[in-house]
Subunit: 225 residues, 2 copies
DNA sequence: GTCTATAAACAGATAGAC
DNA sequence: GTCTATCTGTTTATAGAC
């Protein structure tokens, strides 16, 4: 680690930087980029308005820094989820399905358990609806590698081709059925009569999701014969 | 039809109202509520800034009017989709599954074919992420009735209870796996190498979605025995 | 009903003291 | 590096002419 990145060097300046990034992530996620003023961010970070321009060049720079933070955070989680295994490894269909199940569980778990998850998901959702350079970093750093990895697992589980159109679509659907519970949170809670989507509710979601995945994989395997 | 609602009475004033609502829907959807100025809306509607305050009381009133327009639009589509049938009717498991398939097809088709669909979905997504009074109208007018209707069909197809927790979750997942393609549009297009999500791409999505639904329903029916 | 002019508040960026 | 004061532009809302 040379001077290109300085993770913990200057505690004073870096503390300010970090506080600003965290505040920005939270507020951008909650109120949107346009709905958040730099004054608001500075206030929440216990910094002053000028520090944003100093550290990040401006409001736009803060958005990119928030995106980088998200990539870093998810990467850490994903790395331990996949056990730091290399891209390809020989697994049986059952092992692959178990790993997919574990991933589904982890995805729901992350969205529920992690305190920052709400803001991160909202931030990404907003970027998806109006892509900026920040989405580019998140796509390249998170979306692409995770989706690709799941496609490999899916292929191992079903016997289909990993990079085929059908597999890629299937994996998107598997992700979609789960993250929808966070996206449409407000509607889900109301229709389900849930006061919150906490661990108890997450467990129910995971249960149904696993059942669905198992049914789909079984059908695909049967179709392959 | 009494004077409570005046759909086509005053062509001059109503044309302005309608133009403002359409412009607001489009711009709120694309750029968000905070990201859109009333000047921008007025300009696109070929009206002047003052007319917003006059007709809707202010920017917030326009948001509610846009929500009402969405409810009206979707209601029309849904009505013809379900054939104006009453709440409950005796259908076989196969008929129910066929109706679910048709609904999935219609949902994807709507999101792709309708020119306003993009803005409507985006508008609703933004409301979901930061609920206001507008979401309340959309939930009550669209979300709730449609989800409830699908639950009935799901119950008829699988033999499960219509208002059980599992059924409600399953229906949300069915919706989620499909609408995710619109929500994560930017990421999907990039990963799928699609220049657009048009009719051709929609057909592929529909194909996989139907397969998934069929597999899940079959597994549920088998589990019931 | 429509449109213009203006008010009052607030935005992001910056220059300069410390 | 931090913080304050200020500049410039833009926001919504409104009052009043037509």
């Amino acid at each position: 680690m040379s001077k290109t990145q300085t993770p913990q060097t200057n505690s004073a300046a870096d503390a300010t930087r970090m506080a600003l990034v965290m505040a920005a992530l939270q507020l951008f996620g909650r109120q949107g980029f346009d709905g958040t003023s730099t004054r608001e961010i500075a206030a929440q970070a216990n910094a002053n308005i000028g520090s944003i321009a100093y550290h990040f060049g401006g409001k736009e720079g803060l958005r990119l820094a928030a995106a980088d933070y998200i990539v870093e955070t998810i990467r850490t989680i994903v790395a331990q989820a996949f056990g730091g295994a290399a891209q390809i490894q020989r697994v049986t269909s059952e092992q692959a399905e178990a790993q997919i199940d574990a991933t589904v569980e982890r995805m729901v778990g992350f969205m529920v358990a992690r305190p920052e998850a709400g803001e991160i998901v909202q931030f990404v959702l907003r970027e998806l609806s109006t892509p900026t350079d920040a989405l580019d970093r998140i796509y390249t750093g998170v979306f692409e590698p995770v989706h690709r990895r799941l496609c490999q697992l899916w292929a191992a589980a079903t016997g289909e081709e990993a990079e085929s159109e059908k597999t890629r679509i299937s994996v998107f659907m598997m992700i979609g059925q789960v993250v929808y519970f966070r996206i449409a949170r407000a509607a889900v809670m109301r229709r389900m009569d849930w006061a919150d989507i906490g661990p108890a509710e997450a467990a129910k979601v995971i249960g149904v999701a696993k059942e669905n995945v198992a049914a789909i994989i079984a059908a695909r395997k049967a179709g392959k014969k």
